[in-house]
Structure formats: structure tokens, C-alpha cells
């Protein structure tokens, strides 16, 4: 019993989850290393890193939304919309300040998130319906506005073209590039924020027991709204990152990103039923998904099979969550009962 209590206290299910995910990533890398010639190279690392950076940033926002028992399926469309809009803006005005461009991206994403947030929090429409709708609408508006034209690399200013290849802090032969640094900074910020800000703890409370949250007067609607705005804003940032990474932006930009992101969040141990999960877990999930995506691509596996694999991963993650959590709860409940019985026996 003492041992179970120790375990209960020191190893949370989500930590167990993150550790096993880390092990899985190592196994995956070793597997691909043996299958692909020249896999252990900086080129591979950089490719995976920039893919992970984009998935990771959006996954952080998605984590907040999923914690409140909602889901944001429109992130891919928001990222695509932002990438195209800001790309066109910069192509037409090459002199735009880089920081202003980033700020505009975040603002556009945030504004699109506001629409989701208002409809879910105050319109009382289920998040799946709202964001499935906006997923299609945002993409549709994008196609209409763009007239199906593309933003091309040669219309962009030099700083933006160079951005993804910029080497911030060389570690030996390894390049540390801005996109990845941005993702890491965001993950660290949100990890601490979610753990230590009282407002952020309400995300967990509301996802954990909405009725109780309502009864003790937590601002349920405001929290849900903010989750969607943050998710939108981070998707907007990811849109800018997509623009920087590819240079060429078509109306297809960011399409299917939501599948990667939801997979990252769920594989990273964020409970799809809300209330539990960590930002670092979502980031590990993003690393797993990014690694699989890029490596399978190099193995020549088709896009459809890659998506199918992601779907399988989502299902496996949710199923294992259910089974593991049920087991742990049963063990905990049993030790608790024994403790109470022992108290009863000691009482006069």
C-alpha cells in the first residue's frame, strides 16, 4: 500500500505517458535510421524540426481548447488563411517591418479564433460543429479572396526567404533555426503559464467538472472563449511560420494540419474528454508526429497512408488512455478503501 501511495504521489499517469512517448520516439528514430540511408544528418533534423515547430505551436493552442472539453478543427484553415493573407501583404509591400508582419499574423489568427469562441461559448453550438464549419468557411473565403493565385518566393523580401535557414545559435555542427526556437519558447511559456497562473488552472477545472465550475461561479464561457482565441492566434503564428518555411503559398497551405495537431495533442496525453494533459506532452506528441510525417515521406509512403497512420495513432492513444486510467483509478480506489477500513478498525 505504501508503494502504491508513493507511485500515486510521484508518478502521474501523464508523466508515465510522456516517458513512454519519449521512448517511442527514440524507437521510431532508430527504426527509420536503419531503413533510410543517411538518415542521421542535419538535413533530416532540420526538416523534421521545422515540421515539428509548426505542429507544436498549433498543438499548444489546441491543448488549451481540448482541456476545456472542446476541439478546434479550424486551425489548418486559420494557418492557411493567415499565411496567404500576410504573404500577399508582404509581396505587395516589401518594406513591411518583420515584427509587424508577425503581429498581424497573430492578430488575424486571433480574430478568426474569436468567431469560433463566440459561437461555442455564447452560441452554445458544439465545438466540433462550429470549427468544422469555420474550417470550410475560412478555406472558402481564402480561395475566393485569392482568386486561386499563389504567393511565390521571388515576390517576398530577402529577410523572409532567409529566415528559416538563419542559424541563431550553432551547437557544434547543428543549426538551431528560428522556427524551432519560436516553438520551444512558446512551449516553455505555456508550460509554466498553465502550471502556475491561477487563471490557467481554470482551464483544468472547467474541463474536469463543468457543472461544479458553474456552481462555484468560475467564468466558464470566458475561459472557453479565450481558449479558442489563443488557439486561433497560435494558428495565425503558425501561418506566418508556414509562409517563412515554404515561401510558395497556395490556397492549399495548412490543409490537413488539424489532423496532425489533434494527433499530436492526443498522443501527447492530453485527455480528449478534457481536464488533464500538459503542454510538454503535446510538444512531445508534435515531435512524434513530425518525425513520422517526414520520415515516412522519405520512405516513399503515400500521403494517404500517412494520414491513415495518424488516425490509427489517435485511436490507439485514446484507447490506451481509457484502459490505463481505469486501471490506475481502480488501484487507487482500493488502497483508499483499505486505508479507511484500517482507520475504522483503530477507532474505539
Amino acid at each position: 500500500m505504501a508503494r502504491v501511495n508513493w507511485l500515486r504521489r510521484h508518478v502521474r499517469p501523464e508523466q508515465l505517458r510522456e516517458l513512454s512517448l519519449l521512448a517511442l520516439i527514440v524507437v521510431a528514430v532508430m527504426f527509420f535510421g536503419s531503413m533510410i540511408e543517411g538518415y542521421y544528418s542535419f538535413r533530416t533534423f532540420n526538416r523534421i524540426a521545422s515540421s515539428v515547430a509548426i505542429i507544436g505551436v498549433v498543438a499548444v493552442g489546441q491543448t488549451l481548447v481540448v482541456l476545456t472539453r472542446n476541439i478546434d478543427l479550424s486551425v489548418g484553415s486559420i494557418a492557411g488563411f493567415t499565411a496567404f493573407f500576410v504573404g500577399t501583404l508582404i509581396a505587395n509591400h516589401n518594406g513591411v517591418n518583420p515584427l509587424l508582419a508577425v503581429a498581424i499574423s497573430i492578430a488575424i489568427g486571433g480574430a478568426l479564433g474569436v468567431v469560433n469562441g463566440v459561437l461555442v461559448a455564447w452560441g452554445r453550438v458544439p465545438a466540433v460543429v462550429v470549427t468544422l464549419g469555420t474550417l470550410a468557411i475560412y478555406r472558402g473565403v481564402l480561395v475566393d479572396l485569392s482568386g486561386a493565385k499563389t504567393v511565390t518566393t521571388d515576390s517576398l523580401p530577402q529577410w523572409l526567404v532567409d529566415l528559416p535557414r538563419l542559424n541563431i545559435a550553432p551547437v557544434g555542427d547543428l543549426d538551431v533555426r528560428p522556427l524551432f526556437v519560436v516553438a520551444v519558447v512558446i512551449v516553455i511559456l505555456f508550460q509554466f503559464g498553465m502550471g502556475y497562473l491561477s487563471f490557467a488552472r481554470r482551464f483544468y477545472a472547467i474541463g474536469s467538472n463543468p457543472e461544479a465550475a458553474q456552481l462555484i461561479g468560475l467564468p466558464l464561457k470566458r475561459v472557453v472563449f479565450i481558449a479558442f482565441v489563443v488557439s486561433g492566434a497560435l494558428a495565425g503564428l503558425a501561418g506566418f511560420m508556414t509562409l517563412a518555411r515554404f515561401g510558395n503559398i497556395t490556397v492549399e497551405a495548412g490543409r490537413g494540419l488539424e489532423l496532425n495537431v489533434v494527433a499530436a495533442v492526443v498522443v501527447g496525453g492530453v485527455n480528449i474528454f478534457g481536464g488533464s494533459g500538459r503542454v510538454t506532452g503535446a510538444m512531445l506528441g508534435a515531435i512524434m508526429i513530425g518525425t513520422l510525417e517526414q520520415s515516412l515521406f522519405r520512405l516513399g509512403v503515400s500521403e494517404f497512408w500517412r494520414d491513415a497512420l495518424l488516425g490509427l495513432l489517435i485511436l490507439l492513444a485514446v484507447a490506451s488512455d481509457a484502459v490505463i486510467l481505469k486501471r490506475l483509478n481502480r488501484i487507487w480506489a482500493r488502497t483508499e478503501l483499505k486505508r479507511i477500513d484500517s482507520l475504522a478498525e483503530r477507532a474505539p
Partner: protein, 510 residues
């Protein structure tokens, strides 16, 4: 200020409060004073207006008329947050905790003055201090998920204390607790009382109320019928006030058990849940299952009905060995299981009464084209409405609109309609008011007299003893004893349930 003056003036004074919902006058001119250091019990059948009063005090509803005075100042409580600010807290039958947050965070969740950044080490220390003061041993770092109901109630009390509570409302806090757990809770309540908290205590368990309360108020039909100091009233008088008629729940039922065994269970078990359960159930017999919550009584019921099939042992029905692997098989064999969880497992709340009643036997109500014959369904429901005295204007009404006792009767109708020869009732009167409880007891006796073998699983010991011909006692998934009616007194049963041999059981008046 002298202590006497302080004790005399009420903390919360409710004057002439009234509340109307559509056609029903939920509360009518109710005046009630809660004094510091006093436990004030509130009794009444379901629908008497207790919940409405609680909701008005906690800011969920606004009264149509009347005033509320807190410490001599007139106040209006417009929201749950308002109530918290004023030091009014409520604890409900089902604790309102956040399963994913740890114990400490749950205790301080209502605090909005602890800064924007959570200082975990302080929170853990403060939570430990509060729990230590309560004498409750809980790990403040572990999540609330998986805590027993009793432990969750303790956390709720810690939560109330952390907010410097002056008025504590307890709405049937012991409904799901075992006797020992309830006694622990009462210890905490008495501590709070000594600290000068005014406590409003709502319960359906009379023995609890008379053991704990200083004053007893009875509601009926939204009106305050009587308020007496405990010494000046008696349980039977309180019941009379509640229902307007005398009811005796403690009288033992006359046996109707016949000789031939209906069900023989030998060494039944389900891996990791319960084991070694052996008993005979005769026709017309009522077999009671007693034990603490979590002793495995419900699991035996689930195994007999096939929801969670047994993994070892044998079941014989009228001498023939049977296997029950699914509820469908259980139903075909004439077994019915009435769940303890009316809301989640038993009834489809938004559906009409008749649709609920005919649900397990739909095949009988299909016409040749496979369509439902609603007129026949209604006729069946009407029969049960008369037979079980379900109080409803129409069988077309949604079950959600009925009171707890009437919902329980619909549940019973639903399973009786499958013509069972064995009826398993799990907590048949939980959350049911005392008048309906007596009716449910009478129905059970009647069903047994008709030759049905009845198993009653109940945490309400007087109920088990009054109803049962024999009592099977379980503890930690094991069968401790089968007591014949004459040997089954509260002490013997509780001793077996607690695994004690000599010491007097806790929480049970001698």
C-alpha cells in the same frame, strides 16, 4: 459583545421568503433563523421546498418575495460567487470536486484573492494545515479522482473552512456514505458547530437528524409546518408533520417465504471483485444484502443479472445450472435488476413514463408491421400507475419531471413488466422521501407475497432489517455471514460488515 448576545442573534435570518415556478408555489412565506453554533435540521418529503430554499440561500435562485438578513444586515444574494463572498457554503450529496485537480487545489479553487500566480508550496502547506485541523489524513498532492465519497466530502468541508464559512448548508451529505463514514462526517460537523458556524442540515435519515440537530424544522408543500428544539419533538411526530400521517418503518415484515428454492448460488465469484458467495433464495423470500459501500454487494447483483458476469462458481435456477453472460440472458431467465443509479443506468429521463416502462419488453408492443402499439404501451403504464400509485397527471409525462420516489416506482414498473421471478433491487429507496419509502417497502412485501424472490441491496440498515427474511452480510468482496431474521439485529450485522467480532459498531445508536 458578550458571548450570550452573539449566540442569540442569528447569522442568517430568512424572513417571509416565497418563490414560484410556473404553476407551483415552491416556497410560501418561509421564515427561518440560523444561529451561530447551531445545527438546524430541515426535513420534508421531496418537493417540499428544501432544495428551493437552499438554492435561494446559495444565490442560484432569487426569491419572489421576502428578505434575507446576514449578521443583522439586509442582503441580496445574486450569484454563487456572492454567496461565497458572504461566507455561505453548501455541500451536496454528490461532492462537486474537480477530479483532475489535486486535493489542495480543490480546497482553494474558490479563492480569488491568492494572486495571479499559484504558489504551490504555500497551497500544499495551507491545505495540509486545514486537513490536519479537521483530523483527516489525505495526500494533498494526489488528484481528487479516485477518492472515496467520504474523502471527497472531507475535501468539501475543508473547502468551506478555507473560505471562513459562517453558514454551511449540507444537502443530504450522508446519502451515499457508509455508517462509519457518516460518523466521521458528523465529527467534522460538530467541530464546525463548536467554532460557531451555523449549519443547515438536510437529510432523509431520521436517526441522523435526531442524533445531530439542535433544532428541527419540517417543510411540507413549500410551507414551514413546524420548528422545534430536538428535545421537544420525536421522530414519529416529525414524520407526521412531513406527511400528515403516521408511518412506522421499523416494523418487521411478515414472511411469505415458501419452501422450494428458486435460486441456488454456490461459491460465486468475479476475479478481483468478489468471491465465495453462497446462498439460496426461496420463492416469496426477501434476502437482504448488507455491508459497507464498496463491499461488493452491487457486484454480486450485476453478476446475477449478467452485466458483469461471474467468473467462478455456479448458479442454479429451479435446480437447473445456468450461466448468465449478458443482461439479455438474465432477462430471458426471468431475472430483473433495478439499478441504484436511477439517472444514469435506470431511466431515460427525457422520455415519457410509458416509454420507459415498456423499454425492456419492446417486442411485446410491436404490431405485425414492426411498429409500436402506443395505446397498448399506455395501457400497461396505466396498470402500473394504479398498482404502484405513481403520482403523475399522465403517463405521457417525461420521467424527469417526477419526484425521486415516483421515478423509483417507474423503474420498478419497468422491470415488473418483464414478469421476473427474481427481482434484484439495488438501493431501492436512496434519495426517496419517507412517504414514498414506506410505499416502496409495501410494494416489495407485496411482490414477495406473490412468490417473487427478492434481493434487496441497501445501505440503510433499518430498511434491510425491516424487509428481509434473511440478511447476507458482505465485506471487501467476501461473504461474512447469512443471518436469519431473528438473529439479524443492527449490531450483529454491523459487526460482520466491519469485520469486527466484539467491539460495538460505530455510527449506530444502540
Amino acid at each position: 459583545m458578550t458571548a450570550a448576545a452573539e449566540l442569540d442573534s442569528p447569522i442568517l435570518d430568512i424572513r417571509g421568503v416565497a418563490k414560484r415556478f410556473d404553476a407551483t408555489q415552491a416556497l410560501d412565506d418561509v421564515s427561518l433563523a440560523l444561529l451561530p453554533g447551531e445545527i438546524h435540521a430541515l426535513l420534508g418529503e421531496n418537493g417540499a421546498g428544501k432544495s428551493t430554499l437552499i438554492k435561494i440561500i446559495t444565490g442560484v435562485h432569487q426569491p419572489d418575495r421576502g428578505q434575507m438578513w446576514l449578521n443583522g444586515v439586509r442582503v441580496s444574494i445574486a450569484s454563487a460567487a456572492d454567496a461565497q463572498r458572504m461566507g455561505v457554503a453548501a455541500i451536496y450529496q454528490e461532492p462537486l470536486l474537480f477530479p483532475d485537480l489535486n486535493v489542495a487545489e480543490n480546497i482553494f479553487i474558490c479563492h480569488r484573492d491568492r494572486g495571479a500566480v499559484v504558489d504551490w508550496s504555500t497551497i500544499f502547506r495551507d491545505a495540509e494545515a486545514i486537513l490536519a485541523k479537521l483530523g483527516v489524513a489525505l495526500d494533498v498532492r494526489s488528484p481528487a479522482r479516485g477518492l472515496t465519497l467520504a474523502a471527497q466530502q472531507s475535501v468539501e468541508i475543508a473547502k468551506a473552512i478555507s473560505m471562513d464559512v459562517r453558514v454551511l448548508i449540507m444537502d443530504e451529505p450522508t446519502a451515499s456514505l457508509s455508517a462509519h463514514e457518516a460518523e466521521e462526517l458528523f465529527r467534522l460537523v460538530r467541530d464546525l458547530k463548536r467554532q460557531g458556524v451555523a449549519i443547515l442540515f438536510v437529510s432523509h435519515r431520521l436517526e441522523e437528524v435526531f442524533a445531530l440537530a439542535d433544532k428541527i424544522t419540517v417543510f411540507r408543500d413549500g410551507r414551514l409546518i413546524s420548528t422545534h428544539p430536538r428535545a421537544e419533538t420525536t421522530p414519529s411526530r416529525a414524520i407526521a408533520d412531513m406527511v400528515g400521517r403516521q408511518i412506522d418503518l421499523s416494523r418487521r415484515r411478515a414472511t411469505s417465504a415458501r419452501l422450494e428454492p428458486l435460486l441456488s448460488v454456490t461459491d460465486l465469484g468475479r476475479r478481483g471483485v468478489f468471491e465465495g458467495v453462497t446462498f439460496d433464495l426461496r420463492r416469496g423470500e426477501v434476502l437482504g444484502f448488507a455491508g459497507l459501500i464498496g463491499a461488493g454487494r452491487t457486484d454480486v447483483g450485476l453478476a446475477l443479472f449478467g452485466i458483469e458476469p461471474a467468473t467462478s462458481g455456479t448458479i442454479r435456477l429451479r435446480g437447473e445450472a445456468i450461466k448468465v453472460r449478458s443482461p439479455q440472458e438474465g432477462m430471458r431467465l426471468g431475472i430483473a435488476y433495478v439499478s441504484e443509479d436511477r439517472r444514469q443506468l435506470g431511466l431515460v429521463l427525457p422520455m415519457s413514463i410509458f416509454a420507459n416502462v415498456t423499454l425492456p419488453a419492446l417486442r411485446r408492443y410491436r404490431n405485425r408491421c414492426g411498429l409500436m402499439r402506443t395505446s397498448l404501451e399506455r395501457r400497461t403504464a396505466e396498470t402500473f400507475r394504479t398498482r404502484l400509485a405513481i403520482r403523475t397527471p399522465s403517463v405521457d409525462l417525461a420521467v424527469a419531471k417526477l419526484s425521486g420516489g415516483n421515478q423509483q416506482k417507474v423503474m420498478l414498473s419497468k422491470w415488473l413488466n418483464t414478469n421476473p421471478s427474481i427481482l434484484i433491487l439495488d438501493e431501492p429507496t436512496r434519495g426517496v422521501d419517507i412517504g414514498s419509502k414506506a410505499e416502496v417497502h409495501a410494494i416489495i412485501a407485496e411482490l414477495a407475497a406473490e412468490g417473487i424472490g427478492v434481493i434487496v441491496i441497501s445501505s440503510d440498515l433499518p430498511e434491510v432489517l425491516a424487509l428481509s427474511d434473511r440478511v447476507l452480510v458482505m465485506r471487501e468482496g467476501r461473504q461474512m455471514a447469512i443471518l436469519d431474521g431473528d438473529d439479524a439485529d443492527p449490531e450483529t450485522v454491523m459487526n460482520a460488515a466491519m469485520g469486527q467480532t466484539s467491539a460495538k459498531p460505530l455510527g449506530w445508536p444502540a
